[in-house]
Amino acid sequence: MANADHLPDSQVTVRPSTYARLLVLAPLATATLLIVPILVGLAGAAGPAFGWLPVLGGKTLSLDPWRALWDTPGLGSMIRLSLVTGIASTALALTIVVLFLGAFADSRAFIWLRRLLSPLLAVPHAAAAIGLAFLLAPSGLAMRLVSPGLSGFHSPPDYLFPGDGWGIALIAGLVIKEVPFLLLMSLAALSQCQAEQRTHLARSLGYAPTTAFLKAVLPTLYPLIRLPVYAVIAFASANVDVAMILGPSTPPPLAVSVVHWLNDPDLSKRFMASAAALTQLGITLLALAGWWLMECLVACLGRRWLTDGRRHTAHRLGQWLGGGSAWISVTLLGASLIALILWSLATWWPFPVLWPTPLSLANWQRALDGLWPATLTTLALALSSTLLSSLLVVGCLEHETVNRRTMGTGASLVLYLPLLVPPVAFLFGLVQLQAQLQARFALSPGFFSAALGHCLFVLPYVFLSLAESYRRLDPRWSQLSAALGRSPAYTFVRVRLPMLLAPIAVAMAVGLAVSIGQYLPTLLLSAGRLTTLTTEAITLASGGDRRLTAVYALAQLLLPALGFAIALWLPRLLHHRRRARRN
């Protein structure tokens, strides 16, 4: 992942150790793993989009798939939905995060929220979406809370949630998951832009706290979180799992339609699906371009505002909006989890009763037969993809450390590539390719390809989670070890690895959580042969069995939570034992 920026030649060249030379392989392997499947996947989608798919008899190039796509009823609505939900949810989440940071960066509320961040991030998208649906649906927990006392409803009111035509449910579901992510990314970046000193300076010049943040910190913070923001736009404009649960269905956002067409029994629809997958890529690029234009506009309009000397702009509003909305999104997420728990334990729960009686484990027992194998598959996929990703990530960071390279913009783009290209576009092409290979070499889709597919999404998150701690480790520890005559490899195993155990464990927990939450790669790359907790939860969510859905969503949520618990507890345990031995 490192830039090959050459150091000036020194007179004495030290021959690099075998270890140092082996490490060069890590960034190479990582870049290959991230770039090749995406390029191949996009190419694999491009062929059928122009009528070329020999397996299905497409042997001439034509524009027919595009014509078929063009004639699809509701295409305009699909595209509009993807664009609007993508940009609106990102804008909302970013506003919440920025105003919250501006108004509360020094407060106790902030320290509290900071502690909640990792567990909130570990909540899989699907579980959060299912919980939100259970919370805000007409017969959901929120409506029960105000019924019949405040609202006067004795039967569930008639409004459409989830699945409203405007995509409001979908936007809400995206926002509650994007806020923790953007908050975490901003926290990492804040330390790089002297945030505290600058707000102090601006406040001593008379600026109100929020205004000080907006005028003195944000202009340098935003460039640092730009890539994460773009990743959020790409995810929000092209996601499938949240949209299947919360989005409208007639018509759904484009990415969901692509998956429907791909799974259509009529195989000829695959040509059109390919064209739609490429269109999705275009839509995401359009959303990104639109956002970029807004950035330029804001920068241009903001320039004079920055130096106009006004000290209270947006202060009150920011405090109310930032505080209120950050807590609303955290509360929504928390309340969603309560809704899930109640539904998973409910037997008979008529509207508008708030608390289901009796509570029982019957739903869990009923689910156990399916739950167990799905959990094992989920774990196997998560462990294998996380182990491989962590190995590569640690290799890359070791390469940076040992060979003294720094990561350039190109390398970060490669890292963000799987998060920027809509998965539905390239996974779809990979599936086509897999089908070709299967026909020719009897290479069947299944566990191996699904695990590699998970790596595409797990690896960037493991890297983002670990890089900061790895780079911040005081280089003098390693220099000390070298001065004591230890080789770089020995220093890695005996010095850096133990000192970085805690962040590595957390990064692996993040990796597990990302893998456990994956829907599309599992579904497509295993050709539907692998059943994980996530695929099962999403399938169930579209059915009517709320109790069973809640059980699966909770199981899907518990697994990453368990991962985080172990990651936090393991280093402490080892540390404790070390201290015990010393005493």
Binding site: R198, A202, A208, A212, T307, G309
Partner: protein, 251 residues
């Protein structure tokens, strides 16, 4: 309460900065106690080894004390009590170790950032130009602060604070990152401007030359714990009481 001030007057506010029975505790341990009255144009130095709480005192005065500390006592500017006010309403100009020029604004923008909003655009531009000319940087308004030398940055940072029309100054080791030659010039400039405007100033420093250059009072802070066993200290003015914190010597 505030005397009338024409906008670009450099006359004095003639208000003293008063520390009245100030005490700062950390985890139940007394860190600092202070009684002081700083007259307009006077620059009082606070000295002491690192870790003794010099910066804590400054953070307290400016309104940025971390929640872990507990403080009692009062800070006044003339008749006005500052203690309960948020940082942005105290009108205390803060000069840091680093110039902290905003990289997203040019030199002129950095100066404009400090000016009150009531000043109109053409007047803002005029004042930026005259402030820059004043520190030998005429025509630098459009420059990127990253292209300035260390001394130039420090001068711009000083002008930014002064353009915000502070009522008193807090200096946090303002010269410690400058090299020896620059340090002397910068000291002259800062002290001269503070005196010309008649601002009371509190300067935290560990450089005796800084304190000597002011010719004003010096407050020595002694480490709370080590001051209990004498002789461990290498403080120059050691003839004072060994009670933790307050040592106020007028020279």
């Amino acid at each position: 309460m505030r005397p009338y001030m024409p906008p670009d007057s450099s006359s004095s506010f003639s208000d003293s900065l008063v520390f009245d029975n100030v005490a700062i505790d950390l985890d139940g341990h007394r860190l600092i106690t202070l009684n002081a009255r700083i007259a307009p144009g006077e620059i009082v130095s606070v000295m002491g080894p690192s870790g003794v709480g010099k910066s804590t005192l400054l953070a307290y005065a400016a309104g940025f004390l971390a929640p872990a500390f507990r403080a009692t006592g009062h800070v006044y500017l003339g008749q006005r009590e500052l203690t309960g006010l948020p940082a942005q309403q105290r009108h205390l100009g803060l000069l840091f170790q680093d110039p902290l020029l905003f990289p997203h604004l040019n030199v002129g923008g950095n100066l404009a950032f400090g000016m009150p909003a009531s000043i109109k655009r053409s007047e803002r531009r005029r004042r930026i130009e005259s402030a820059l000319a004043d520190i030998g940087l005429a025509g630098f308004a459009k420059r990127d602060p990253a292209t300035l030398s260390g001394g130039q940055k420090a001068r711009v940072a000083l002008m930014r604070v002064l353009l915000s029309q502070p009522h008193a100054m807090l200096l946090d080791e303002p010269f410690s990152k400058l090299d020896a030659a620059l340090r002397h010039d910068m000291r002259q400039l800062v002290f001269e401007r503070i005196r010309a405007r008649g601002l009371p100033a509190l300067m935290v420093t560990h450089d005796h030359a800084d304190a000597e250059a002011t010719g004003d009072a010096v407050i020595e802070l002694l480490p709370a714990r080590e001051s209990e066993h004498d002789g461990m200290l290498s403080s120059p003015s050691n003839a004072q009481s060994s009670a933790p914190g307050l040592q106020h010597a007028k020279r």
